[in-house]
Amino acid sequence: MSAGEAFAETTHIIDEHLEGEMENAFEVIPSHPVDGAPDMAHAAHGAAEAAHSAGLPQLDPTWYPSQIFWLAITFLVLYTLFSRSILPALSSTIESRREHIQNDLDTARKMKEEAEQVHAAYEEALNEARDKATEFMTTAEAKIKAKATKKLDDLREKSAQQTQEAEAALEKAKTKALKEMDAIAAEVASQAAKKIVGIDTDIKQAKSVIDNINKKAA
């Protein structure tokens, strides 16, 4: 069966039912003449139902006004409710949350910047302290080194002086001893000459003789 045929048949069935219901409606009205209005409604409803059993009830215009009317009412009520109360409430909640989050983010950013500044200052202070410490250490080392060198030099000088003094004293003592030796030698020689030869010799002459010998030896 093609679509066209199906449509033709459907309309035919609808027509038949509508006719049937029309007759039905006319039958009903006289039987209840007092309350006519509800019966009219009933009859119309009956007709509608008859149409439904054959075609789509959506194409029956009986209930169009009612549907449009109630749709308009519910739609207007919903529109008013949404636009006046619910949507602004939701919007303000979402907006305030967004603001709150934005504020928090801003605060966090500010705090981060502050922390970075503090960190930078700390780094600077640390570097300064390090530099100072290094400088201090260098100067201290230099001072100590200088002191040590000086002390060492002093010590060396002193010891050199002492050595020199000691050497000088030794030399003096040696010279003195040698001189005394000369004197002793001259005395021994003169006494020996006196005892052996029996002559009194001049000590001074002996001394000069020894001096001469010493000179010859030198």
């Binding site: 209930w63 009612s66 519910t74």
Partner: protein
């Protein structure tokens, strides 16, 4: 087998008439009200508590809000904010109709062409009226794409006009057809199960096959319900963009 069309039948609950128009409170109206009440209660609970760290309800409401806001921002730019409530309401209305319609014994008001057409025409007239108010006659430059040779304009302008006029039709029929087709399919497969049951013991076992298929289709329909609501809302946003900025 139960009539798969029966689920779309409208039955009045509180009948009343105003100057010849039948404005009865029907099962369709009931589910519109249920959808509206559910959505507003849920979002009210979610928006009442304005915690910095949201609870479940609040997180869900905010996710929903951000989702729609993101969709509008991506499709209409920052100026689209002024249509936020409109698109949000459309999205919620369609979403509730689609999703609540999947509950057993419920009624899918988005499966009625008159409902989807009303919503689509709302968008269409909003775009047309606001477009004319914001741009004046310059709004008609919408039909003249930039950088097109004059000869081609003869062809392109009628096409653009037609595509503009047909927008409410495509918008409404897309949603309507998706909902009807999905619900028909669910009912037909469920009908298979009950039909096979009549075969006795073997039928009971055999009846499981369409039932399992129906579970899979149900999951698909849930996806379709969400997706179609999204498509309806996103297309509304795209159409509304024309009232803000004509350069495309």
């Amino acid at each position: 087998m139960a009539d798969p069309i029966h689920q779309f039948v409208i039955t009045p609950i509180i009948p009343f008439e105003v100057s010849g128009f039948d404005l009865s409170f029907t099962n369709s109206s009931l589910w519109m009200v249920i959808g509206g009440v559910c959505a507003s209660l849920f979002l009210m609970m979610g928006s009442r508590e304005k915690a910095l760290v949201p609870g479940r309800m609040q997180a869900f409401s905010e996710m929903f809000y951000e989702f729609v806001a993101g969709m509008i921002r991506d499709n209409t730019g920052p100026e689209g904010r002024r249509y936020f409530a409109l698109i949000f309401t459309i999205f919620v209305t369609v979403l509730m109709g689609n999703v609540l319609g999947l509950l057993p014994y419920s009624f899918t008001y988005t499966s009625h062409i008159v409902v989807t057409m009303t919503l689509a025409l709302l968008i269409f007239f909003t775009v047309t009226v606001l477009g004319l108010v914001n741009h004046g006659t310059k709004f008609f430059s919408l039909f003249i794409p930039p950088d097109v040779p004059a000869v081609l304009l003869l062809l392109i302008v009628p096409i653009e006009v037609l595509s503009f006029i047909i927008r409410p039709v495509t918008l409404s029929v897309r949603l309507f057809a998706n909902m009807v087709a999905g619900h028909l399919m669910l009912k037909v497969f469920a009908g298979f199960s009950t039909m096979v049951l009549a075969l006795g013991m073997g039928g009971v076992l055999l009846g499981f096959i369409p039932m399992v298929l129906n579970v899979a289709i149900y999951a698909l329909e849930l996806l379709v319900a969400l997706l179609q609501a999204y498509i309806f809302a996103i297309l509304s946003a795209i159409y509304l963009k024309d009232t803000l900025d004509l350069h495309h």
